[in-house]
Symmetry: C2
Subunit: 299 residues, 2 copies
Amino acid sequence: MHQDLDQFSVTEAVLEQMADTPDARLKLIMESLVKHAHAFARDVDLKPEEWLAGIAFLTQVGQACTPSRQETILLSDTLGFSALVNILAANRQQSKATDPSLLGPFYRAAAPQKQIGDSIAEAADAPELVFYGQVQNGAGHGIPHAEVTVWQTDAHGFYDMQLHGEEKMDHRATFITDANGNFHFRTVRPLGYYIPMDGPVGRMIKAQQRHGCRPAHIHFLIGADGHQELVTSLYLSDDQYIGSDVVFGVSRSLIVTPKADPNSPIPELEAIHYDFMLAPSGSCGAGRVGADPSQLVNV
Amino acid sequence: MHQDLDQFSVTEAVLEQMADTPDARLKLIMESLVKHAHAFARDVDLKPEEWLAGIAFLTQVGQACTPSRQETILLSDTLGFSALVNILAANRQQSKATDPSLLGPFYRAAAPQKQIGDSIAEAADAPELVFYGQVQNGAGHGIPHAEVTVWQTDAHGFYDMQLHGEEKMDHRATFITDANGNFHFRTVRPLGYYIPMDGPVGRMIKAQQRHGCRPAHIHFLIGADGHQELVTSLYLSDDQYIGSDVVFGVSRSLIVTPKADPNSPIPELEAIHYDFMLAPSGSCGAGRVGADPSQLVNV
């Protein structure tokens, strides 16, 4: 009988009611979640009207999600929670693989397949640049036939789904590396951008007087047989928000600078050169901290 | 510059980015929330696929909310979080007022106004009972013209909104106490019930092998000039789940037993007798841990 519960025994009562959870991992996660959630309420002596504001906020976050918008991931990202999960995953990996970064809310499955050298911009309305690099194994050797998915904003800072919803894909593509593990593509310079500010997470960011910007970056999701999937992004060094990313995704090792480069496959364009190293699949997986929004609603 | 963040410095980076929040209370709450959320992820070494399951779950909780269903409150209730907020509020109150209980997800504003002695059941298809009691001030004197809103399930364990959505109200009413602070009404015996098990919270409850039941109870929301609003429920003593309420709402002082009662205003019916004591409004408010679901979507 759990009657006349006080602020501490109520936590024990919840743990007791969850004690028969058959999945040991679910049990452990929910126990820790309940303990931390209750400790939070006690620490701040949470008021009923504050609780209600939190309920309304979380409800609005869920309801703001659509097949082309994932507000719940955005909330996790802006609280540094996604970055932390990424860091924990990288710590488990124990390899010299490329640092991961956030998948973010703009990943979409089934990006158009393109040929090495193609442009990922349907109609480039800004100076083009070329990206080139090699996908390598842990020994630094190129991996042939690795699958590289890239996505980024257009030159004005918008992702395709912000302009066209689910209708159209642009500034995203999938490439297959050549026999030496190399690939390159043409693109425009991505622009830093505000996260979506018209929803509940945007209201939180404004209430915290945060700038709400991400520095300019290009996303990469790279997979190859026998290797861990790598989810990362490369960040442009001269962006004013390179040190204050609203979603905490930047690592020093992922910062790049476009420049003239005689070794580039298209030397007449400014080039970004970056080689990616994948961890062997035997190691503990990093996994994707993110998902296609269309797979996360109405499930 | 927050680059190459580790699992601890990422927390500091988030707190630093929130440091300019002008609302001191919001700043305190969000700082504590971030610290506890990050500590949770570190404690369980949260995996990306577990994070993703959590994102999908929270998204589904938000999307399950409608004007007649509040799944986010249900989640808070089933994790004992609402009960804890209630306890914290009662602790602040420092009076001998009646213990509060959960407003729950079935409260609705604007219940039909009825006269003392009326039945709250439109068509009672089970033996009737009578509820009678007095609304008292801290000195134990009756408060005239207090407003008492009551709601409960029908004799089969269903709330009106579960049967009729927003279309119709039944088994709920508002009464005004008489010159001595007394009121009474006829009703049917409420039945214990499963919380809604067809949504994401129901799936969680099943995965935890919890029974998912609330013991039979009648809800009361009582207000009077010069007094704190009281939100509480009375629980029927012989319910098999009286000691294992899935939302942790039962207090010993709120348990009642219907019985023959010669002092009842309708002595031929079984009676529940309970007097409520309100705290003066000068004291720190308990507040409503809950809300009308129709006010929490699409806001």
